[in-house]
């Protein structure tokens, strides 16, 4: 078996790479696929805590490449889905502790046992980024509709095009209200600027913070808007045609009148 290795990246930090990796991984596992999540953010690991698996780590990726343990010993199985596993990053080592070749080798090994290998990339475009991209077959770029993440996304897209071909885009934390007011770049604006294929839009959602607090990502919550958005993205990754609901910036005049009179 050879699975698909997908790197989740952004350039800018704090736009939701780790959250997206966790949700896409759990979403794919919910559809009965075998999934390995790889935290490539050595020195600043976070995928474990977002997934609620932080207390179960014994070995990490640097232990594997140094030969201190076998790859399967370092994989943390998720009790919610036995076919979902996390390969944690090291919290004490440097990005340079692993080479791109070693990352490629690890990904190749994981692809033999898993349908999907999702790689959570660190922020930036230095060694950590090069490592995360080395073993990937495809890339997903995350941005929020703000000027600096979009600018950084453009830079990363340029770098990925040379290494992996056309990446796909997720726009995270879109606020319907701000888009309607004309105070936030809408889906079309971002696509005009970045000119890549849109994989999905995740709305701004307080549930993401609560999910982080609990170590239980939103895709596991039936009532969360962002969780539903991640479910749709998962189906698109699996090749299904799922329409992307548009957050439209132009309300009708009646809508505006209603908003004027009743606030919402």
């Amino acid at each position: 078996m050879s699975g698909r290795a997908i790197v989740v990246t952004s350039g800018k930090g704090g736009v939701g790479k780790t959250t997206a990796t966790a949700n896409l991984g759990l979403g794919l596992a919910k559809c009965d696929y075998k999934v390995a999540l790889m935290d490539a953010d050595i020195g600043l690991r976070n995928l474990d805590i977002i997934m609620g698996l932080e207390n179960r780590i014994v070995y990490h990726v640097v232990d594997v490449v140094r030969g201190r343990c076998q790859l399967r010993q370092a994989l943390v199985k998720d009790k919610r889905f036995p076919h979902l596993a996390l390969l944690p990053a090291s919290q004490v080592d440097q990005k340079e502790s692993i080479t791109p070749e070693q990352m490629k080798d690890l990904t190749t090994q994981l692809k033999e046992d898993f349908d999907f290998v999702l790689i959570d990339c660190p922020a930036g475009i230095e060694q950590g980024f090069r490592n995360a991209v080395a073993g990937a077959d495809e890339a997903i770029v995350i941005t929020t509709p703000d000027v600096s993440p979009v600018r950084d996304a453009d830079r990363v897209i340029g770098l990925l095009q040379n290494a992996l071909g056309e990446p796909q885009l997720i726009i995270n934390r879109m606020s319907t209200d701000m888009v309607k007011r004309g105070d936030m770049l809408n889906q079309q604006d971002v696509l005009d600027i970045l000119a890549v294929r849109l994989l999905g839009i995740v709305p701004e959602d307080e549930e993401v913070v609560i999910a982080g607090n609990r170590g239980s990502p939103v895709v596991l919550n039936e009532n969360s808007r962002s969780g539903k958005a991640y479910e749709r993205i998962v189906r698109r990754i699996l090749g299904e045609e799922v329409p992307i609901p548009e957050l439209n910036g132009h309300g009708s005049i009646m809508h505006r009148l209603g908003k004027l009179l009743f606030g919402r």
Binding site: D146, V147, G158, V179, R181, G182, M184, L185, I193, R256
Partner: protein, 96 residues
């Protein structure tokens, strides 16, 4: 809610996103080519001089854009032309 916001909400006047989009498009045009603002200005000056030697152009309305939809990127120069320079004109005459 201020009156300004109320009026803006009703008439659907432009919010700040158009400014964001415009600024991003300019900065990314430079980023993608690895051009600095100074280099861009020098390019602009040279292009206007070259065109100005042959036709009279409206210097304030010359627009230089980079279209990145195709690879390699395309440079589009939009220069409103007033008239051709008379043949007697010195080639090095300055711009209007």
């Amino acid at each position: 809610m201020s009156w300004g916001t109320l009026v803006q909400r009703f008439f659907g006047t432009k919010g700040s996103k158009d400014e964001a989009k415009g600024r991003l498009q300019v900065v990314l045009a430079y980023d993608r080519l690895g051009l600095s603002f100074e280099q861009m200005e020098a390019l602009r000056k040279d292009i206007m001089e070259a065109i100005g030697r042959h036709v009279s152009i409206d210097a304030d309305r010359v627009k230089i854009d980079f279209l990145h939809q195709q690879n390699p990127a395309e440079m589009v120069i939009n220069a409103p032309v007033r008239r051709a320079r008379p043949p007697a004109d010195e080639p090095k005459q300055s711009l209007d």
